[in-house]
């Protein structure tokens, strides 16, 4: 009898483990899109071409394809197909954004505050955006770890929105935001751009010392009769050490050319080359340096003049960076812009005359490279994930209207079939729905009002 009980227990626990594993899998879809003008981004434009997605992966790209029975067939004659749009800077669907309590908070993680119920996710999908980089805010010189999200709308589980293949990323911030929050707001370093550099160098150096202590301990404990005591575990310093060891990609909020140049040099000193700059309005002034030493720049299409550090910007930024060989992407940092990044990318044709291929790369393969996920997404190639968007006009035309959006081969948006109200969760006690005059968009400076009393921030990015 005892043996039977033991066996039962073993079988039960095996079943439990199996079902847990099943629960953790994200759903994958099958679809056959026929006869579209396929904008592959990496392999040119293919006319009258079919794309077949099976189990969430692009199985075949070609002509006159037939698919398995469980794949819905969509006639895309006269329509355009492009890869799902990737936004490298977003705060959409995050409950909070800024752990503004210290100038370095590398230990916190945005993955902990994902809100899967935000209807903004659906609205981004209706604009063709399938992946977004959920960022910590810009209150701290070294902020928390960010998370790359796939917009699998409809789930109640925040973990389902996490793109598991994506490498770790972290947020840095330079310039007015950290100096305003800590220096002006709390009278602690950094108060100036000098202080920002010092904070970062101090953080890196402390991480090196921390690592040394652990190395010493690890060597010592192996010895016979070792009395070695481990150093106190410090997640903040461990995360900084991970950055120095190349395990985390830095995305640094920055504006002025001199501070961009500063961080490039700091990273070179510490041997860090996984560095992407974001906002980087004055990136065009240090384009040669960005091209040589970084993984690129993620910029606005045309925002400027909302703060002093962006007064000397130009809408030609993305074009100048691209022409100088910098891996450039266009981001939104806005729940509103994320819905028409195809239009924001198209502005580089007005401001700098970029070609169709160059402009489309800014919202597909380039942000994929900056997030370290270009092996999986960012172009329409066999073997990549089935993140696709169908447009009725070429996406770079102002008249383009997204028709359908697919994530992992599953249709997430359909302009003809979807109902108007896409909320997942409606409060049962709310009698009248609130109407907002200004729909507040999650921004880089959200949550730091406590520290910025007295200063008037209109666009706080």
């Amino acid at each position: 009898m005892k043996k039977m009980r033991k066996l039962t227990y073993i079988i039960c626990s095996l079943c439990l483990i199996a079902t847990q594993h099943l629960g953790a899998q994200t759903p994958k879809g099958n679809v056959l899109i026929k006869n579209a003008t396929v904008l592959t981004v990496t392999q040119g434009t293919l006319e009258n071409t079919d794309v077949w997605v099976q189990d969430g992966i692009i199985k075949k790209v070609g002509q006159d394809l037939s698919a398995s029975k469980d794949a819905e067939t969509i006639d895309a004659t006269g329509k355009f197909l492009m890869p799902g749009i990737i936004d490298a800077h977003s705060h959409l669907a995050l409950d909070v954004v800024n752990e503004a309590t210290a100038p370095i908070t590398a230990e916190v993680a945005i993955a902990d505050v994902i809100n899967p119920f935000d209807v903004g996710i659906y609205r981004a999908l209706a604009g063709g955006t399938t992946i977004a980089h959920g960022l910590h805010g810009s209150a701290n010189a070294i902020g928390g770890q960010s998370i790359t999200m796939k917009y699998r709308y409809g789930t109640r589980n925040p973990s389902d929105l996490i793109m598991k293949e994506a490498p770790r990323t972290i947020k840095f911030a330079l310039g007015e935001n950290p100096t305003r929050v800590h220096g002006q707001g709390k009278n602690i370093q950094p108060r100036t751009r000098m202080g920002v550099e010092a904070i970062i160098r101090n953080g890196f150096n402390e991480a090196l010392q921390y690592e040394k202590k652990w190395e010493a301990y690890n060597q010592a404990k192996g010895q016979k009769n070792s009395k070695a005591v481990p150093p106190a575990y410090n997640l903040r310093l461990q995360t900084l050490a991970d950055i120095l060891n190349g395990e985390i990609i830095i995305h640094c909020h920055s504006y002025r050319a001199d501070e961009i140049y500063m961080l490039i040099n700091v990273c070179r000193d510490f041997g860090v080359d996984k560095l992407v700059f974001t906002h980087v309005n004055e990136g065009f002034k240090v384009a040669p340096e960005l091209a040589k030493y970084t993984m690129g720049a993620s910029v606005f299409s045309d925002w400027w003049a909302y703060k002093f550090e962006v007064y000397y910007s130009t809408a030609y930024n993305a074009a100048i960076l691209t022409e100088n060989g910098v891996i450039t992407s266009i981001n939104s940092d806005s729940d509103e812009l994320i819905r028409h990044l195809y239009h924001e990318a198209a502005k580089t044709q007005r401001y700098g005359g970029l070609s169709d291929e160059q402009a489309l790369a800014l919202i597909t393969i380039n942000p994929a490279k900056q997030l370290g996920i270009d092996e999986y997404v960012g172009s329409i190639e066999e073997g990549k994930q089935g993140d696709l968007v169908i447009f009725d006009h070429h996406p770079l035309s102002v008249y383009a209207v997204p028709q359908m959006t697919f994530v992992d081969g599953i249709k997430q948006f359909d302009i003809n079939e979807d109902k108007d109200d896409q909320r997942l969760k409606v409060s049962p006690t709310e009698r009248v729905e609130p109407v907002y005059l200004q729909v507040e968009e999650e921004s880089c400076m959200h949550g730091v009002e406590l520290f910025t009393e007295g200063t008037v921030l209109h666009h706080s990015y």
């Binding site: 040589k292 003049a305 909302y306 910007s313 030609y316 401001y351 609130p434 005059l437």
Partner: protein, 433 residues
């Protein structure tokens, strides 16, 4: 020896004007007035259809002639083959010239202290040399309404053409009095008042407005009776709205508030009123059309006001209102990116308004609303030479704007954004010094 040196300098001085025909390195380009012939392009008149292979003669600040075979005479000829000529675009709601750097209070001039300050003149506070002005006008947006914001009656808005060195040189014939109608909507997600508190605040504000309007009406009657009045600038200005000299530009967005505003206009017999904002106008479009009140709405590139709204509520709003018979103008509500006006119109066009009506919404319709359609809003003989030349549809991002004329001045096609592009496209020294 001294004399010899003087001669050299004198000669050099004489040579300078001769050398300055082309652009000398470092020379500043200035607006040029004169006679111009825009030759052989496609003229999009807005009011009289599209004319192919047609020329437009600009002289003395006016559109002198439109047609084929116009003799150039001594006019500078600009070849417009394969190009399009449009009337200058009008943005009917901006803060252009009233703020330089958004986050710096020292540069903000659009919101004065006080709840009732209709006498605050936006026009005189406009900075004609704002860096955003050249950035804007090279996009073909030539005209903007600069609007104060703040309390119930924040000031007097003014329509300006984006050329000139003093506000009076820029002023182009329209002023209006904005009124922020009491709202029962939440100001933002940070607005944590209860529903009851919001209703109470709205009722108080409406009562307040009625008292103020009453006082302004009394002032007007006394003024008309030539009574001797103490200095009361707020009422003196508001009396102009009561009398109908200046229209009220009523900012209102929530559907219920729009209906209340329409009722209020009728009840008070407001002589001239325009609704601005109107983001939920599509919900009550028939009512607005019945009341015969024109609407200025935007930005089109905006989020819906309700979480339950269809995602494209703001994109399709202008089109829906227009279909119901409302006169609709489009604004950006912006300052440094007023240049996005044609793209706002483009989205409105794509989501139901159609290209033709969307173009009207940023040309002839605002001109009519502001009563300046005698000189702006379309390409007609006798109107102001405020036009632009593009190599395609100005709503499309691929299109380049080639030439811009404002009041007959050819505008230098440069701005700080363009100069930065020219300097840094190929930086010298590059990576190595």
């Amino acid at each position: 020896m001294k004399k010899f040196n003087l001669t050299i300098y004198f000669l050099l001085l004489l040579l300078f004007p001769v050398c300055s025909y082309g652009q000398i390195e470092g020379e500043v380009l200035k607006p040029q007035n004169g006679k111009f012939l825009l030759k052989g392009g496609t003229v999009v008149t807005v009011t009289n259809g599209i004319m192919e292979n047609t020329s437009v003669l600009l002289e003395d600040g006016k559109i002198k002639a439109i047609g084929t075979g116009i003799d150039a005479g001594d006019a500078t000829v600009i070849d417009c083959t394969d190009h399009y000529v449009y009337p200058g675009m009008i943005d009917s709601g901006t803060r252009l010239g009233l703020v330089e750097v958004g986050s710096l209070a020292e540069t903000q001039d659009y919101a004065e202290i006080g709840n009732v300050t209709p006498n605050m003149q936006a026009l005189t506070a406009i900075n004609p040399n704002s860096v955003a002005i050249p950035v804007t006008r090279v996009s073909g947006v030539t005209t903007a309404l600069s609007v104060p914001s703040g309390g119930l009656f924040p000031g007097t808005a003014a329509l300006i053409n984006l050329n000139g060195y003093t506000p009076d040189q820029m002023y182009t014939g329209f002023k209006g009095i904005p009124m922020n109608f009491p709202t029962s909507a939440r100001r933002g997600r940070w607005d944590r008042r209860s529903d009851e508190e919001i209703e109470k605040d709205a009722r108080e504000a409406l009562k307040n407005i009625n008292e103020i309007w009453e006082r302004a009406t009394t002032y007007m009657k006394l003024e008309d009776a030539d009574a001797s009045l103490t200095y009361y600038p707020e009422m003196e200005q508001l009396a102009k709205a009561v009398r109908g000299d200046l229209p009220l530009l009523i900012e209102v967005n929530k559907a219920e508030d729009i209906l209340k505003a329409l009722e209020w206009i009728k009840e008070k017999e407001v002589k001239k009123a325009v609704l601005t904002g109107v983001s939920e106008g599509f919900r009550v479009a028939e009512k607005i059309a019945d009341a015969g009140i024109a609407v200025i709405t935007g930005p089109v590139l905006a989020l819906p006001s309700r979480s339950s709204d269809r995602y494209d509520a703001a994109y399709s709003n202008p089109g829906k209102m227009h279909k119901a018979g409302v006169k609709v103008a489009i604004r950006t509500s912006d300052t440094e990116n007023v240049r996005n006006l044609p793209f706002n119109a483009g989205f409105a066009a794509a989501y139901g308004m159609g290209k033709e009506e969307a173009l009207k919404a940023i040309t002839i319709v605002p001109a009519e609303i502001f009563g300046v359609d005698d000189h702006l809003g379309s390409i007609e003989e006798g109107k102001s030479a405020t036009v632009f030349v593009a190599d395609g549809d100005p709503f499309e991002t691929k299109t380049q704007i080639k030439h811009v004329f404002i009041d007959g001045y050819k505008i230098p096609m440069t701005s700080r954004h363009i100069r930065l592009y020219q300097e840094f496209l190929e930086r010298n020294p590059g990576l190595e010094k």
